[in-house]
C-alpha cells in the first residue's frame, strides 16, 4: 500500500463537540484532529467517558440530538465535509462508503427481522439488487465473514445466534458495500475472550481482503496494539498523544499514556513482585475539563505552573509522533510510585476449602443441564485460586454453590474440615460469616437507597457480631480506611459514587466480619483499567494483611496471572487444568488452556502467542460430548480415543494436573512458550506486505 500523506480516507480537523444538558453546554470533545489513510487501521483508545463514541458518532454524522458541533471539519475521502453534507448525500454515504459496527450486537440488530433480510436490505438499497439477488449476495457475504452454515443462518432471527455470530452479521452488513471507511466502536467488548479473539482475527483478515480504512475504538490497549498501525490516546475529550502503535506503547511520551500502560498487569508481573500503579484522582466530570490549561494537570506527577496556565500544543517528538505535553522529554524518566508489593503468602498452608465431586444440575421440563459436573479441588489458607473459562463453563454456578446461593445436586463442600450443608440456611452462622462474595456489578449488589455507612453498618452488625454503637462506628471507619474510602464517602449513597468506589464499598462489606474465603466473581470486569489496578492492589493487600483466601473468577487472564497463586481452568462444567499459576500458563498445558491463552490480547509483541482457533461454540451442558468433553473443538484432537474415552488426569513435574489423553512430555513438544514463536497473525502478514 502506498500510504502517501495525500491518500487520506478520513481527515478530522479541530473537532469541538458539546452536549447540552439542563441548560448547560458541556464540552466533551476538544480540538480533536486525526487522519486515517486508505487501508490503515487507526486505534482510538481512552477510558470510559473520554469521548470516543462521540467522535465516532460525529464521523457517522449520527450524534444525539442534544449534541452541538461547535467547530471543525470532517473530510471524507478528500472531498466531502461531512459536517456540511446534505441529508440525502449522507444517506448515500452511510452504509455505502462508510459503515459502522457497534459494541452490543444483540441490541444493534432488529429482533423481528431475519438476519439474512437485514444484510440483504443493504444490497437492495445501495446496490439496487432485486430481492433474490440481494439474498444471494447476503449469503455470499455471510460466507466471507466466516459464519458456519450461512444457508441456515440467513433464516435465523438475531436472538437465535450467539454473540460472536451476531457480531459477524454486523460485519457482514457493514462490509456489504465494500466501504472505504469502517468505524468499529468497541466491537468485542462484552464478548468472551475466545470469541473476541475470533472477531479480531476476522477484522484483520477482512482488512487484508477489503483494504478498508478502519477507525478502531477500544479501551483495551492490547487489542489496539495488535490490530492497529497507528494509535491516538484520548483523555477528557483531547487527543493527548498519537503515533505508530508499537512505538507509542513501547515508549510513551505523555504522562497519561505511560500511567495507563502501568495500570495493566503485564507478562512477568505478579502481585508479590510488582505493585500495579493506579492513576491518582479521577477523570474530570463532564464539561469541567480545563480549556486553558493541560487537562491532565490535576493528576500529573510532572505538573508545574505552566501546565495550569496554558494548554500544551502538540509537539512532534519523532516521525509521525506527537504529544500534548510541555515536559514530554521527562516522561520516560517518571518513576513508578513504588509503594512495595504485597507479601507472598507462605506455601504449604493447611487446606481451607475442600470441594469433592460437586455436581449442579438445573432441571426444567424434560431437560437437565449439568453445569457443574463432578468438580473437586481445594483452596489453602490465604491462597488465591483463579478460576477461568468461557462463559457457559459453569464458573459462577460453582461459586454460588460454595456460598450457598444455590444448592448443589451432589458432592461435598468442607471448610476447615467441617462439611457445610448445601443450603445456606442450614449452615452455622459462624461459617457463613467466613464465606463472602463480591460480584461483578456493584450497581446491582448495593442497595441504592442506603448510605455507605448504613450498608457497612448492617454488614458489621451481621457479620462481626458487634452491637455497641461506638464499636460498630469504629469498625466502619476501619473498613472504609482499609479499602481507601474517604470519610466523606460514608454519607453518600451508591448512586453518587463512581464504579470503582462502589466496588470498594462492596469489598469492604465482604470484609466486614473476618472472612477466611472471599469469592470474587469478575470483580473488575466492569471497571476501567486505572480503577481495576487500584482494586487489584487492594485485593492483594487485604489478602496479605488478613491472610484471606480468594476464589477469583475472571475472564481476563492477565488479571488472573497477576493475582492468582493457583489457577483452575473450567470447560463445560469440568475442571480440565489445575495447578500453580506459572505452570498453568506455561506449557505443557491442556489444549483448551492453550487456546484460551492464545486469545489473550497483549500490548507488546513479546507477550503474544500463536493464535489457536477453536472450532464452533461451547456445546450445550444438557447434551455434553462423549469421551473428552472438549473433543468437538480441540485443535489437538487425536481421533477416536478422544471421542470415546474419558481422558485421564496427567501430572507434570511442576505438580500441575490436566485432563487429556496426551502425556506431558508429548504436549511439551507440541506447545511453544509465549513469544517464542512468530505469531501467525495477519498483522505480521500486513507488515511484510508493507516492507
Amino acid at each position: 500500500m502506498s500510504g502517501a500523506a495525500t491518500d487520506l480516507a478520513l481527515e478530522v480537523d479541530g473537532l469541538i463537540i458539546s452536549y447540552r444538558r439542563r441548560g448547560q453546554t458541556l464540552r466533551v470533545v476538544s480540538d480533536v484532529s486525526l487522519e486515517i489513510r486508505r487501508g490503515e487501521a487507526y486505534g482510538l483508545v481512552g477510558e470510559s467517558g473520554c469521548g470516543k463514541t462521540t467522535v465516532a458518532m460525529a464521523i457517522m454524522r449520527y450524534l444525539p440530538e442534544n449534541a452541538v458541533v461547535e467547530a471543525g471539519r470532517i473530510v471524507f475521502a478528500q472531498s466531502e465535509d461531512l459536517l456540511r453534507a446534505s441529508p440525502a448525500k449522507l444517506r448515500a454515504l452511510r452504509g455505502d462508503r462508510m459503515a459502522m459496527v457497534y459494541q452490543d450486537p444483540g441490541s444493534a440488530l432488529n429482533p423481528s427481522l431475519t438476519v439474512g433480510r437485514q444484510v440483504a436490505e443493504v444490497y437492495e438499497y445501495h446496490r439496487g439488487l432485486s430481492r433474490r439477488d440481494a439474498r444471494e449476495a447476503a449469503q455470499k457475504m455471510l460466507r466471507q465473514v466466516q459464519i458456519s452454515d450461512p444457508d441456515r443462518v440467513v433464516r435465523r432471527y438475531p436472538h437465535e445466534l450467539s454473540g460472536g455470530q451476531q457480531q459477524r452479521i454486523m460485519f457482514a452488513m457493514a462490509l456489504a458495500t465494500d466501504p472505504d471507511l469502517l468505524v468499529l466502536d468497541e466491537p468485542t467488548t462484552g464478548l468472551d475472550a475466545t470469541v473476541e479473539a475470533e472477531v479480531l482475527d476476522l477484522v484483520a483478515q477482512l482488512r487484508a481482503e477489503f483494504k478498508t480504512a478502519i477507525l478502531f475504538i477500544s479501551h483495551n490497549l492490547g487489542i489496539v496494539a495488535r490490530l492497529c498501525e497507528r494509535v491516538g490516546v484520548l483523555y477528557a475529550g483531547r487527543l493527548i498523544e498519537e503515533g505508530p502503535a508499537q512505538e507509542l506503547f513501547a515508549d510513551p511520551r505523555h504522562p497519561y499514556t505511560l500511567a495507563l500502560l502501568r495500570c495493566v498487569p503485564r507478562l512477568g508481573m505478579r502481585k508479590d513482585s510488582h505493585r500495579l500503579d493506579p492513576i491518582p484522582g479521577s477523570l474530570p466530570p463532564l464539561g469541567t475539563a480545563a480549556i486553558n490549561a493541560c487537562v491532565y494537570a490535576p493528576r500529573c506527577p510532572l505538573a508545574r505552573e505552566r501546565c495550569r496556565a496554558e494548554p500544551p500544543p502538540p509537539y512532534a517528538v519523532a516521525a509521525q509522533r506527537s504529544t500534548r505535553c510541555f515536559f514530554h522529554e521527562e516522561v520516560p524518566a517518571i518513576a513508578p510510585s513504588d509503594r512495595g508489593a504485597a507479601q507472598a503468602v507462605e506455601a504449604n498452608q493447611p487446606v481451607l476449602l475442600e470441594i469433592e465431586h460437586l455436581v449442579k444440575t438445573y432441571r426444567s421440563t424434560g431437560t437437565a443441564a449439568t453445569v457443574v459436573a463432578d468438580v473437586s479441588f481445594a483452596v489453602r489458607r490465604g491462597e488465591v485460586l483463579g478460576l477461568v473459562g468461557e462463559s457457559g463453563s459453569g464458573k459462577s454456578s460453582l461459586a454460588k454453590c460454595i456460598v450457598g446461593l444455590i444448592e448443589p445436586t451432589a458432592g461435598r463442600i468442607a471448610l476447615d474440615g467441617a462439611t457445610l450443608s448445601h443450603a445456606a440456611a442450614g449452615r452455622d452462622p459462624a461459617l457463613r460469616r467466613e464465606l463472602q462474595m463480591v460480584f461483578q456489578n456493584p450497581d446491582t449488589a448495593l442497595n441504592p437507597s442506603h448510605t455507605v455507612r448504613h450498608i457497612l453498618g448492617g454488614a458489621v452488625r451481621l457479620l462481626s457480631g458487634l452491637r455497641e454503637k461506638a464499636k460498630v462506628e469504629r469498625r466502619i471507619a476501619h473498613l472504609a480506611a482499609s479499602v481507601r474510602l474517604r470519610p466523606q464517602h460514608l454519607d453518600l449513597r451508591p448512586g453518587a459514587l463512581s464504579g470503582g468506589l462502589k466496588q470498594r464499598v462492596a469489598i469492604a462489606r465482604a470484609f466486614a466480619g473476618a472472612p477466611r474465603l472471599v469469592l470474587c466473581d469478575e470483580p473488575t470486569s466492569a471497571l476501567d483499567v486505572s480503577v481495576q489496578a487500584a482494586i487489584l492492589n487492594l485485593l492483594a493487600e487485604l489478602q496479605a494483611s488478613q491472610s484471606v483466601a480468594y476464589l477469583f473468577i475472571s475472564h481476563d487472564l492477565g488479571v488472573v496471572r497477576y493475582l492468582a497463586d493457583r489457577i483452575a481452568v473450567m470447560y463445560l462444567g469440568e475442571i480440565v487444568d489445575i495447578g500453580p499459576a506459572a505452570s498453568v500458563f506455561n506449557p505443557p498445558h491442556h489444549p483448551y488452556t492453550e487456546a484460551l491463552l492464545s486469545a489473550m490480547p497483549a500490548i507488546s509483541e513479546g507477550e503474544r502467542r500463536a493464535r489457536i482457533k477453536l472450532h464452533g461454540t461451547i456445546p450445550s451442558p444438557s447434551n455434553p460430548p462423549s469421551g473428552c468433553r472438549f473433543h468437538t473443538r480441540c485443535p489437538r484432537y487425536l481421533g477416536d480415543i478422544c471421542r470415546d474415552q474419558v481422558p485421564p488426569w496427567q501430572r507434570d513435574a511442576a505438580g500441575h494436573l490436566y485432563h487429556c489423553h496426551i502425556a506431558p512430555s508429548d504436549l511439551a513438544r507440541l506447545q511453544p512458550a509465549a513469544g517464542k514463536q512468530r505469531t501467525v497473525e495477519p498483522r505480521g502478514a500486513e507488515s511484510k506486505e508493507r516492507s
Binding site: G95, A99, M100, L109, V122, M170
Partner: protein, 336 residues
C-alpha cells in the same frame, strides 16, 4: 411455543371460563329479589298460575339441580328458552349477536386503519404541528362520551346533510342469511344494493364507537414508536443509510406493533361494552337492546346465554391476540 399449543391452552381455558362465568351469573341472578314466574304470569295472576309457571320454568327445583340441568343443556348447545321472547335463547343470540360484532369490528378497523398511521406520523414528527394536532385529537377521542358524539353525528349527517341513515342496519330486506353479518352476507351473495345500504348504516355507529378507540390506538402506537425509534437497531438501520420510510415502516413499526397488539386486543373487550350505548343511540338491533330488556324482565336464560357467549368471544379475541403476537414476535415463537 407452537401455534397449536397456544390454541390448545386457550381452548382448555375457555371451558373453565365458561363454567366459572355461568356459575357466577347463575348465582347472582338467583340472588337478586324478584320472581320471574310472577313477572311472566302478570301482576294479577293467581298463585296457582304462578306456581304452574314456576314448575314449567323449572324454578321450583333446588338451585344446585337447576344449575346442573343448565350445564347439561349447555353442553348440548342448548341455552334454554327466553322467558321474554319465548324463543330459544340461541336463536335470539344468532339474530342479535352478529349485529354487535359487525359494529365492533367495523369500529376497530376504523380505529386501527386511521390510528396506526396517525400514531406513526405523530411519533416521527414529535412535538411538531402534526403531533400536536394528533395528540389533541386522541385526547378528545378518549374523553368524548359516545352517546353525545352519536347524537351529534346523527344531527349533522342525517338531520342536516341527510347523507347517512341515522338508525337501523339496512333499508329493505336483509341479504340472504349466511353469517348474520349483513355486509359480509351481501358481499358473498353479490347483493350490491344491500351491501351499499348496510355500509351506509354502519358508518355513523362505527365512527362513533371507533372514535374513542382511535384515541387509544394513536396514543399507544405513538409511544411504542417513540420507544422503538431510540433502539440501537434503528441506529444501525440509519447508519446503513436506509431510507427514512424503510426505517420507519420496516424496522420500527414492526417492533412497535408487538406491544400494541395486546393493548388493542384488550380494547376490543371494551368495545363490546361500548357497543351497547352506541346501539341505543342508533337503534341498532344488536345485543345491547336485547340485554337491557332481558335484565329488566329478569330473563335468566337470556342473561346467562348472553354472558356465556360474550365470555367465549372474549377468550377467542385473546386467542387471536396471542396468535398475532406470536406471528409478529419471533422471540415469543421460540420460547418453550
Amino acid at each position: 411455543m407452537s401455534f397449536a399449543n397456544v390454541v390448545r391452552r386457550r381452548l382448555i381455558l375457555l371451558v373453565f371460563v365458561v363454567f366459572g362465568v355461568s356459575l357466577v351469573t347463575f348465582a347472582i341472578s338467583h340472588m337478586i329479589p324478584g320472581d320471574p314466574a310472577r313477572m311472566m304470569a302478570g301482576e294479577r295472576a293467581s298463585n296457582e298460575v304462578v306456581a304452574h309457571m314456576r314448575a314449567v320454568l323449572g324454578l321450583d327445583k333446588p338451585l344446585a339441580v337447576q344449575y346442573l340441568a343448565y350445564l347439561r343443556h349447555l353442553a348440548q348447545g342448548d341455552l334454554g328458552i327466553s322467558i321474554l321472547t319465548q324463543r330459544p335463547v340461541l336463536d335470539d343470540l344468532v339474530l342479535f349477536f352478529p349485529a354487535t360484532i359487525e359494529l365492533a369490528v367495523a369500529a376497530l378497523l376504523f380505529a386501527i386503519l386511521l390510528g396506526v398511521p396517525l400514531g406513526v406520523l405523530s411519533a416521527i414528527a414529535k412535538d411538531r404541528a402534526v403531533d400536536q394536532v394528533t395528540r389533541t385529537l386522541s385526547v378528545t377521542g378518549i374523553s368524548t362520551p359516545a352517546f353525545w358524539l352519536g347524537l351529534l353525528l346523527i344531527y349533522l349527517f342525517y338531520g342536516r346533510l341527510g347523507i347517512f341513515p341515522g338508525s337501523g342496519r339496512i333499508d329493505g330486506p336483509p341479504p340472504l342469511h349466511l353469517t348474520g353479518f349483513y355486509t359480509l352476507d351481501a358481499a358473498l351473495t353479490g347483493n350490491w344494493p344491500a351491501l351499499a345500504s348496510a355500509l351506509a348504516h354502519l358508518f355513523l355507529p362505527a365512527l362513533t364507537l371507533g372514535f374513542v378507540h382511535l384515541g387509544i390506538v394513536t396514543r399507544q402506537i405513538r409511544s411504542a414508536m417513540l420507544e422503538v425509534l431510540q433502539e440501537d437497531y434503528v441506529r444501525t438501520a440509519k447508519a446503513s443509510g436506509l431510507s427514512r420510510a424503510q426505517i420507519v415502516l420496516d424496522h420500527a413499526l414492526r417492533n412497535a406493533l408487538i406491544p400494541s397488539v395486546t393493548m388493542i386486543g384488550l380494547a376490543f373487550g371494551d368495545l363490546l361494552y361500548g357497543a351497547v350505548l352506541t346501539e341505543t343511540v342508533f337503534a341498532w338491533p344488536g345485543m345491547g337492546n336485547y340485554v337491557v330488556q332481558s335484565i329488566a324482565a329478569l330473563d335468566f336464560p337470556a342473561i346467562m346465554g348472553f354472558t356465556v357467549v360474550a365470555s367465549t368471544a372474549y377468550v377467542l379475541v385473546n386467542l387471536a391476540v396471542d396468535l398475532t403476537y406470536m406471528f409478529l414476535d419471533p422471540q415469543i415463537r421460540a420460547v418453550g
